[in-house]
Amino acid sequence: MTTVDGRHTLDREAERLAYKPPEVRHDIQGDMETEERVEKAMHHFVKNFNSQTASYLDGCLHCGMCADACHFHVRTDDPRYTPIWKLELFKQAYKREAGPFAFFYRLFGFKKKVTIDQLEEWQHLLYDSCTVCGRCSLVCPMGIDIAGLVSMARHGMFMAGLIPHELHETAKRAAETGSPLGITADKFEDRVEWMADEHEVEIPMDVEQADVLAVMSSIEIQKYPQSIAATAKILNAAGESWTFRTDGFEATNFGMLSGNPGWQKEATMKLINAAIKIGAKLIVLPECGHAYMALRWMGANMYGKPLPFKVMHISEYMADALNKGKIKVKKVDTSVTYHDPCQVSRRGGATQAARDVIRHLGVDFREMEYGGDYNWCCGGGGGVVTIKRADPLRHRVFKLKMDQVEKTEADELLSSCANCRQSFDDSQEHFNWDYKMGSLMEMVAENLEDEA
């Protein structure tokens, strides 16, 4: 390998002043005709054009500053990873089909029809190289929410059957079995029982009436089952009337990540219905970033009216409980830094919650340089962690995170997102990076003061 630090490759064959387009890799799903694919992509692009997206797509200045905010571009210097370039086809469709001057764009062919070759090429840009982390949205001088647009552009890609296989399979499994990792209600019940035994904690399941509905993410159920126990401990300690439900336990939403609004709605409605059924006043979301975006901010829009209950991320719940004295924690003698899940902090607005919790833990907290809202993404968000072929790129990008974390010289790295945790674990393994990575929720659960 000739890569020295990933940024400056020793490629002596490279053409001067030109970039070498990486080989176009693309997957296809289904057996549609080419034309049908293009049509589908176009139709589902167009469906998204409302006054908000239109102003965004019309407002771009081509200043290119978003490139400087994107970890994929910063780490590779590949101009194609410029965030707004990832939306080029979406923009092209907008200008031709729905913009104020669409008629002229079509009449004079100022913007060509999107082609299958382009769509295939953009698969890599819209999926493999975008975690929808939204850092670019903050640098844009026009204030364009680029990340939000990427999510919408994915609708067209999904419907055209032009998304990475692994993501498609994961999303499909989620739609069919209710969980991206194929965790059925029975399996969930098993795991919950196991954890209840293992950690000697009472875990209510399928209670008919409860104030709080707790939900989990598949990654936790599968990979970090102690989270189930931790959730239970905290909710018990707070004295909540709460329950897990087998008819609504999966918080992740791969319909959203992959770009299938139908599946997204299905997954969201399961949770909403379960909560309504038990008369819950609150859904506590697990340590998962995109689940927060899917239910907290997009849930009501899927439902078509305001939700009859509140939605909180577990970090928000903990902060609230600690601030109100509903739970108490022992002081922990360690130094920690905190990795903000993009969808919870930067895009979700709950940045302060985790910091409140950390304050209560009394640890030596070391904020990363430009932590919080400007945090570098773990590299695995937006479904990227599921895309196998994107691994080398994701690892390359992770270097930024590593540097940011190491600079704090904290003993431990905390986060509040199982997806982040998974990509940390994977990248740690890849780099043989020995760093203690933990869950904020688990730290709280382990240090609860009993009498509270």
Partner: protein
């Protein structure tokens, strides 16, 4: 053909000394905007110059141009130039009238065929020949007849040069300028409303001295006088650069003599010599008296959007049309949005 005395002869006959003549030559050099080093050459040329015959035609005019030329108290040095020409016809100034006057004109034309100068003030009505006649002859006919044997034509004042006030919108008489009609003779324009008398004199002096017409700009005006804008030669220019402007005619800026740009001064686009030659024997010029330049020596000066409208003001026309454009814009935008929504609806159904 009568013998034409040289200017030297005339001056000698009047008992003008050589020193006086030198003064005269220096003034002429000054007049022609020639460097003082040219004085000996001018002296030499003038001594041998012969008195040309001049026919002055007045058409649709106000006599202001003639006034301008004759009002200065005589005898002046410029006046001497006039003494050295033979003004054979000028129906305002000459004693003769009617047939006798016309006879004088014809006589001058015949005697000096191909040699004489025609000076014209006033514009020529093309709408109806009856709008302006002299001795029953239409202005057009008289002009064309007279310029036939002329050496050159000098259009005096903005009316003769560009149509001037008679030619201003809506131009009821169909007034045109001399250069619109005279195509086969050299035409020198000395515009201004009125023109600076010295400039008229200078053109004659040039013809007299060197037997040729001065160098002209794109509007047919002598470059020596119309080569620079009022703005460029204006003593108030430094105030323009400093951003100090009179806002009204009676404010502090006006009293302090600041730039009159905001009061509609057309100095920047007006080519004339007022700022240096000045008026009333060098006393002052309009800006010095506190009034913005009207741009009277420019074509169409009457129709330039108002004397007191600043030069950089755009002429946007009626607000109604702008409102119309706004309505059209909203309509087009709405139509585009509806079309976009339709396509969306169609696609949603198909998808």
């Amino acid at each position: 053909m009568k013998t034409i005395p040289t200017l030297g002869d005339i001056l000698q006959a009047q008992g003008v000394s050589r020193r006086g003549f030198m003064k005269y030559c220096a003034a002429t050099a000054s007049l022609l905007a020639l460097p003082p080093a040219m004085v000996p050459r001018i002296a030499q040329a003038l001594e041998q110059a012969r008195r040309p015959s001049v026919i002055w035609l007045s058409f649709q005019e106000c006599t202001g141009c003639t006034e301008s030329l004759t009002r200065s108290s005589s005898p002046t040095l410029e006046g001497l130039i006039f003494d050295s020409i033979s003004l054979d016809y000028h129906h305002t100034l000459q004693a003769a009238s009617g047939d006798a006057a016309e006879a004088a004109r014809h006589a001058a034309m015949e005697e000096n065929m191909g040699q004489y100068l025609v000076l014209v003030d006033g514009s020529i009505p093309m709408g109806n020949p009856g709008f302006s006649t002299i001795a029953g002859i239409s202005n057009y006919d008289m002009l064309m007849e007279t310029v036939e044997g002329a050496a050159a034509v000098v259009a005096i004042g903005s009316c003769a040069a560009f149509g001037g006030i008679p030619g201003a919108n809506p131009n009821p008489t169909g007034a045109v300028s001399v250069q619109d009609l005279v195509k086969d003779k050299p035409v020198v324009n000395v515009p201004g409303c009125p023109p600076i008398p010295m400039v008229i004199t200078a053109v004659l002096a040039q013809f007299l001295t060197f037997g040729q017409l001065p160098e002209l700009d794109i509007h047919g005006r002598p470059v020596a006088f119309f080569g620079q804008t009022i703005h460029d030669r204006c003593y108030r220019r430094p105030f323009y650069e400093q951003g100090k402007f009179a806002e009204t005619f009676d404010d502090e800026g006006a009293r302090k003599g600041w730039c009159l740009f905001k009061l509609g001064c057309k100095g920047p686009i007006t080519y004339n010599a007022c700022a240096t030659v000045k008026w009333n024997a060098g006393t002052s010029f309009p800006i010095e008296s506190g009034h913005p330049c009207l741009g009277c020596s420019e074509p169409g000066f009457w129709d330039k959007g108002g004397f007191y409208a600043p030069l950089s003001t755009g002429n946007f026309g009626s607000g109604g049309k702008l409102a119309g454009a706004a309505v059209a814009g909203v309509a087009l935008g709405a139509a585009a949005a509806v079309a976009g929504r339709r396509r969306q609806a169609k696609y949603t159904k198909e998808a």
